[in-house]
């Protein structure tokens, strides 16, 4: 049986009805990984022995008649910037190639408590800096819809694993679109929760005011299920919110009558692939037919969002990545004869070009003489971008935009950094404003998936999920598996 094609909520039913065992399921997924990961390269590290031991434990719980959590015994994949105790966590960097965490991230603690299964760690852009997985120190991940194309990034490994049948659910992290954009490029579901919904404890810090962990899954129901487990306050992250976590699966309703969907014109501007635009216009018409109200919106400061992000995120990264000094953990140049020389040599050899570029950009915009012109200015523009959204949400309940202005592009490294940065235009503002955003499959252009993004108010994941679920259930896109060259 091809269990790898199923969603977590379907497999949970099969497990509790004893139609399948968790060991059988887990072995089925590893078999699939053996079969396709040579082409896809979604994983950096596998943990088969521990995964199968955990599966066997869950099977015994089921046999003993215990009630199990919705993700118990269901194998998932973890982005390799999320700490897993005893299991190598590399951030796809030479700097952390041999780093074995001594503690679990808060989300991993919660998932372990639910007796879930971790298949392994997935590939990403180095330190989550990139949109393609091409900046990974390890081989680039390939898009299962077309192996010559990028899977998106930075959580490209997690997204590719989902659509290739190499994991049932996955975790990613999203600083400027790193969950939503790969979900869009590979045709799966990815949600970035409200900033603070999920603890960042144990997620290797990139830009602390923007980073957020979230699910990447086959359908909206699974996204809600994973959210239920990972959300909640944590004493180790002072920015995690002490807010009640609702049962997100209760928000999954197909009724969108009267829902006000805002269409911000700035997201449908020059640069948007006309065919992608066509897919979104069709989605809007579908929503209208389902009884939703479409509202024209303007978010006037959208054009400033990309550069605002590329000042703030590198500034925070330059401070966060200062910890990699070759002393306590991480790569060290062993030939240097003085400590300062050792630190500079270790960082120069341990980091790739994109990471270096961002550390230096961040150092520059924070340096004396440039702080006001760049960093302070960017933080002020961030206020204007936030206010745009606040104003918009007085007129609508949720915003509908492209996730990316384009579909997945070829793996050829031909684009310069700024051209790639500019493609993040639809996802970045959501991080700057701390809002929840989901990407779900909305159709295809030239055989490649197109994602649509739904953005909600602060802490209103429920409306986002409801709108996403209603669309998903009236279409079949979440049931289509990537062709993977016929495998």
């Amino acid at each position: 049986m091809d269990l790898y094609k199923s969603a977590a909520h379907e497999l949970h039913e099969k497990l509790i009805k004893k139609e399948i065992s968790s060991v059988e399921l887990t072995e089925n997924i590893y078999k699939r990984i053996d079969q396709v990961d040579g082409d896809v390269k979604a994983y950096v590290t596998l943990d088969k022995e521990n995964a199968l031991a955990q599966a066997s434990k869950v099977d015994k719980m089921i046999a003993a008649g215990e009630t199990i959590a919705p993700l118990a015994g269901i194998p998932g994949a973890i982005k390799d910037n999320i700490s897993t105790k005893g299991l190598r966590t590399t951030c796809s960097s030479k700097m952390l190639e041999n780093f074995v965490p001594i503690y679990d991230a808060h989300v991993i603690q919660k998932l372990r408590a639910d007796e879930t299964i971790f298949l392994g760690k997935t590939n990403m852009d180095e330190f989550a800096m990139g949109s393609t997985t091409e900046t990974s120190y390890f081989p680039t991940t390939h898009n299962p819809w077309n192996l010559e194309r990028v899977p998106g990034g930075s959580s490209g490994g997690s997204a590719a694993a989902i659509v290739a049948g190499e994991a049932i659910w996955a975790l990613g992290s999203d600083t400027g679109g790193s969950i939503r954009q790969p979900a869009s490029f590979t045709g799966c579901v990815g949600i970035k929760p409200t900033y603070g919904r999920v603890s960042r404890y144990g997620c290797v810090a990139f830009a602390s005011s923007l980073d957020q962990i979230g699910p990447i899954t086959r359908d909206v129901t699974d996204a809600a299920t994973v959210l239920n487990t990972i959300c909640g306050v944590c004493t180790m992250d002072s920015t995690s919110l002490n807010e009640e976590v609702p049962d997100f699966t209760k928000a999954l309703k197909t009724d969108v009558k009267g829902l006000r969907i805002g269409v911000p014109k700035e997201y449908y501007a020059a640069g948007l692939d006309p065919k992608v635009d066509g897919v979104l216009k069709k989605a809007l018409a579908d929503y209208e037919a389902m009884g939703a109200e479409i509202v024209d919106i303007s978010l006037p400061h959208t054009e400033y969002a990309v550069i605002t992000y590329y000042i703030i995120a590198p500034a925070e990264a330059s401070a966060n990545l200062a910890r990699f000094d070759g002393v306590r953990y991480g790569y060290r140049n062993m030939k240097a004869t003085s400590a300062p020389e050792m630190t500079t040599a270790s960082r120069t050899e341990g980091f790739g070009d994109e990471v270096k570029r961002r550390i230096m950009l961040g150092t520059y915009v924070l340096s004396s003489g440039y702080y006001d012109a760049y960093y302070l200015k960017a933080m002020q523009v961030r206020t204007l971008i936030r206010q745009d959204f606040e104003n918009a949400f007085e007129q609508c309940d949720v915003l509908l935009t492209p996730t990316s202005p384009v579909v997945a592009y070829p793996i050829d490294g031909k684009m310069d950094p700024l051209a790639i940065y500019l493609l993040d235009v639809c996802t970045i503002p959501v991080n700057l404003a701390g809002l929840p955003g989901i990407s779900i499959p909305a159709g295809f252009v030239d055989g490649m998936p197109v994602g649509m993004q739904l953005i909600g108010k602060v802490l209103d994941e429920e409306t986002v999920l409801r709108a996403a679920y209603a669309f998903e259930q009236s279409h079949e896109y979440h049931k289509v598996m990537a062709p993977l060259g016929g495998k």
């Binding site: 002072s238 991480g330 003085s338």
Partner: protein
């Protein structure tokens, strides 16, 4: 041009990084491309606008002063590149 190769070298030094001479031209060009693009921010008048460093109203989070188990010595050293007598060993710091 916003920054010269000499300034990029200085920024690299502040960042504890080295840019090899062979890549300096490309690095400087990409750096300037991004900084030139940042000029669009100057179109905006932001006088009097409060900056947003964090989107949430952040305040200090306090807890009771109770001793809890911390990281063990062995764990703390477990990823160290070089260890001597239970400490992190580094090359000479002062000549």
């Amino acid at each position: 041009m916003k920054v010269t190769a000499k300034e990029v070298k200085h920024i690299a030094n502040l960042s504890r990084l080295t840019v090899p001479d062979s890549e300096m031209e490309k690095f400087t060009e990409q750096f300037n491309q991004i900084l030139n693009y940042a000029d669009i921010l100057q179109k905006l008048d932001t006088k009097g606008i409060e900056p947003t460093p964090y989107v949430l109203p952040i305040s200090n989070v306090l807890r009771e002063d109770i001793a809890v188990e911390g990281v063990s010595h062995e764990e703390a050293l477990s990823n160290a590149p070089d260890v001597q007598n239970g400490g992190f060993k580094v090359p000479r710091v002062i000549e």
